[in-house]
Symmetry: C2
Subunit: 115 residues, 2 copies
DNA sequence: GTTACCGCTAACCTTTTGTATAGTGCTAAT
DNA sequence: ATTAGCACTATACAAAAGGTTAGCGGTAAC
């Protein structure tokens, strides 16, 4: 019984780790935000995400794609055009973002009050 | 109007960053879990958090204290005894953890199904 | 025909984060 | 007297994350 609850707890901790992993890091949120605002092209996203390098943006987009948040479409015209778009699945993050933002704001206010 | 919503959005992103910062990293969750289970002493927490080094645990506890999640009490007997306990404020994380765990589990299942 | 934009990638460097090992000063048990 | 536990800190190192610079092959504009 105690064992089961420990196992349960560990699997919850791992689930939280997974969640933190996919939205963590310095840029994922910003890239998602930029896509939410309707930016679709690589260089466009880079310009909007001030400070990000091409290398890092490339990696972030790949990870976001692997996690099913982003769809990458190559239009084989000349010149070749690549489009990035958020998937419907990306919307499942909505509530999480809300919860995080709310708690974060509350916490910042608290820390500020204490000084 | 567009400007205001951009500003709002940026401040939300920062709030999310703050939230991720205070619960992020490899050990914070595990340490909190150990404290939840009632462990109060430094070495006890270290034993339970398998793999953590004293240096890292020391840092984590300091950060958790700074963020108001942990109370550190020194009992000046001989030998000196130090007690760590979660504060009431730490409970405000409850809903966030739930949301994270839920989303994380859902996401893991989804990724698994796709292979 | 040089310049500039597009969507990247490679090589390398720095910063951040976490690990390993040892050791401090204290007490208490063997 | 040695050993072990407590609560740490110091030093050094390794791994991961992120940043910098340069360049590729293409098109399109001047």
């Amino acid at each position: 019984m105690a064992e089961r609850s420990t196992t349960e707890c560990t699997s919850k901790l791992n689930a939280i780790d997974d969640a933190l992993y996919v939205i963590g890091g310095k840029w994922k949120l910003r890239v998602i935000a930029s896509l939410r605002e309707g930016h679709k092209r690589f260089n466009e996203i880079q310009r909007v995400s001030v400070g990000i390098s091409a290398r890092v943006l490339s990696n972030e987009l790949k990870e976001l794609e692997m996690n099913g948040f982003v769809k990458r479409t190559v239009h084989t015209q000349t010149p070749v055009v690549v489009e990035y778009q958020l998937t419907d699945y990306a919307d499942t993050l909505g509530d999480l973002f809300l919860a995080l933002a709310e708690w974060g704001e509350m916490h910042r206010d608290k820390i500020r009050r204490e000084r």
